[in-house]
């Protein structure tokens, strides 16, 4: 069973000619089949956690380890991490002009699977996944994220999640900016992948709204660069009622 282990993770970022520590010792274990929700106020470092695990060059790991089934993730290049089974659904997916969605998906699937998927089964696979997410087939011929609405971008991220079948999926504020219909469709996609039992999910969110559709096994409150409290689904109810105030008081919440 695939396990992602994060131990004492410290991460800095360069901003305005100064080095700022964003993550201050994160400990977390995510196993295949589990769903973890990470909740926290803006600026608490949730997204930094997601991007540093994926290997974004902006972030510097100064201490700690991240392993996937004992393999050192931090030693891997960004594409190696993906091929090892890590997936990051981004909050702000990037536009790639000139590259169509269908070309992108096939190139990605080829890299992930080590060989080009057979055309006939692949076309069917993509078609089914797009129908499940209520995406127009014409979508496949558009350039990656170019001119996509917020909802289209997020559906496209979840489409990739369904097609690439990672071991560990990190969803960075996938719910932000979605209307209720889009939120439901995106959540159903996440739940379909979860139902396979093959994926461990790290759901990063600011709001409890998405937890009406996706049931977490564990909820962690993130504040001031580390996990401040962990619990079961009931912790989300407490946050819904009381907000993050208890965790940000006295801490640097900026």
């Amino acid at each position: 069973m695939a396990t992602l282990e994060i131990r004492d993770l410290h991460v800095t970022v360069e901003a305005d000619n100064a080095t700022k520590e964003i993550l201050k010792g994160v400990d977390l274990t995510v196993k295949q089949g589990e769903t973890h929700a990470i909740m926290g106020p803006n600026g608490s470092g949730k997204s930094t956690l997601a991007y540093s695990i994926a290997g974004h060059p902006k972030y510097t790991i100064t201490r700690g380890t991240v392993t996937l089934d004992g393999e050192d993730v931090l030693e891997m290049s960004v594409d190696e991490r993906a091929r090892a089974g890590m997936f990051l659904a981004m909050q702000y997916p990037v536009e790639v002009p000139g590259v169509s969605v269908s070309n992108f998906l096939r190139t990605s699937a080829t890299a992930m699977r080590g060989e080009a998927p057979k055309l006939r089964t692949w076309v069917k696979e993509v078609k089914t996944a797009m129908e499940d997410l209520q995406m127009d087939p014409a979508f496949a011929e558009r350039n990656v994220n170019e001119g996509f609405s917020g909802g289209e971008k997020k559906r496209h991220e979840i489409l990739q999640l369904e097609l690439l079948k990672p071991k560990i999926a990190i969803l960075d504020e996938t719910d932000s900016g979605l209307d209720v219909d889009a939120l439901r469709q995106v959540s159903e996609g996440v739940n379909r992948v979860h139902a396979s039992g093959e994926v461990g999910t790290l759901l990063i969110t600011h709001y409890t709204r998405i937890l009406r559709y996706i049931k977490p096994d564990f909820v962690h409150v993130f504040a001031n660069g580390r996990i401040a409290e962990s619990g079961g689904a009931e912790l989300a109810d407490k946050l819904e009622a009381e907000g993050y105030e208890a965790y940000t008081k006295g801490g640097a919440s900026a």
Partner: protein, 392 residues
């Protein structure tokens, strides 16, 4: 195109729309057009038409010191009905499409021995392309070629440049009334070659001319495709793509001169650059003269900078002497393949090299799909693929 906002350090994308009583497109050249090299002063490099060009790498083409001491192997594969002649410079067809506008074009005209005239008879519709293969075998050569396509004829001409050498030439396209001509000129030189050439197209009444310029090789390549219209109803489409590697200078200077009414032109050039001192220059001049009512023109240049150290100069100029036109516009943008795009693609398991190739392939495919000649589109995609294999 979202990347349009990203202007890499050291690049310029200046543009201007001038509405003038006198042509600045014409007057900013340092001398009027002439067939005689003596009519042009030796450039010093600060002239408008030379300011982007590294004169010291032109091997003396610009100052009279280059001597015709080289060999260029020319093969012309002409389908039935097409004639190929060698003529002297007093042949009426030589120079009819246009006059040299700078010293090197005039030097080429003054220095060539025999001009080659390739003729497609009127009303003949070719089913096979005319293939011209020019392979440089070192040294300096001067040339002049005329493609004379008769009224209502249809032809595709493919010109391939390979090998090493220093080449200065004029290439004329006489497109007869109602004729359709597509020309593909591929500059796939060794990275030591120098190539300076003026292309003159004279587009007949209701004729259409399509030019596809593809520049990959060479140390210095400086091409000057120019279009004039002999009668109303003419259409010109000028497509170009270039892939400028470290140390290469690739310059495309276009002029579309709308001197008669109801003609169309569409210019679209795209270039990718990578490596230290890769330098691409694109000058797009469109002149709409007072008589040219009903003109419809658009010109576009896009550049994709893949690494630091590359430089783009992109200068569109549109000069309008009559307001009675259908449309006139231009666009220029230089974008960078940035770390965020690379991160996004790599985070989907795509290795760095493949990510770059994916982006470049997509960038050029958008242009190639506009060409509208399936054979040529396939051939160019294969060429791009080979260039990507070799250099990215």
């Amino acid at each position: 195109m979202a990347e349009a906002q990203n202007i890499p350090v050291g690049s310029t994308t200046a543009g201007s729309i001038a509405v003038a009583a006198e042509s600045t497109v014409a007057t900013r050249m340092s001398a009027p057009p002439s067939f005689d090299v003596a009519d042009f002063p030796v450039p010093h490099g600060r002239e408008e038409e030379w300011r982007f060009t590294p004169l010291e790498r032109l091997r003396g083409l610009h100052d009279g010191t280059a001597k015709a001491d080289g060999t260029l192997k020319a093969e012309i594969d002409a389908p039935d009905g097409v004639t190929v002649e060698a003529v002297t410079r007093d042949d009426a067809r030589v120079g009819k499409a246009g006059t040299p506008v700078d010293r090197i074009a005039a030097q080429a005209f003054s220095s060539f021995e025999k001009a080659t005239v390739v003729s497609v008879p009127k009303e003949q519709v070719l089913t096979e392309p005319v293939r011209v293969t020019l392979h440089g075998e070192g040294g300096t050569t001067f040339g002049h070629t005329v493609f004379d396509v008769g009224a209502f004829a249809e032809a595709v001409i493919i010109i391939d440049h390979t090998g090493d050498g220093v080449r200065a030439a004029n290439v004329d396209f006489l497109v007869g009334d109602g004729a359709k001509l597509t020309v593909v000129s591929v500059q796939d030189w060794d990275d030591t070659a120098v190539h300076v050439s003026q292309h003159n197209a004279l587009v007949g009444r209701d004729a259409s001319f399509k030019s596809v310029v593809v520049t990959f090789g060479g140390d210095v390549v400086r091409l000057h495709p120019r279009v004039n219209y002999a009668g109303p109803g003419g259409e010109a489409e000028l497509f170009g793509l270039y892939f400028t590697d470290a140390g290469q200078h690739q310059e495309h200077r276009l002029l579309v001169d709308h001197g008669v009414p109801h003609c169309k032109s569409n210019v679209a050039y795209k270039g990718a650059l990578q490596g230290d001192n890769a330098h691409a220059v694109w000058i797009g001049d469109v002149l709409i003269e007072a008589a040219a009512e009903g003109t419809d023109t658009y010109e576009m240049n896009r550049n994709l900078v893949l690494t630091d150290g590359a430089r783009v100069d992109s200068v569109p100029n549109l000069e309008i002497e009559t307001g009675e036109i259908v449309g006139a516009g231009h666009a220029s943008a230089t974008g960078r393949f940035d770390d965020e795009q690379l991160f996004y693609l790599m985070s989907r398991g795509i290795p760095q090299i493949e990510a770059r190739r994916l982006v470049v392939r997509g960038f050029f495919a958008e242009l190639i799909q506009q060409i509208g000649v399936p054979d040529i589109e396939e051939r160019l995609m294969a060429k791009i693929e080979a260039e990507l294999e070799a250099s990215v």
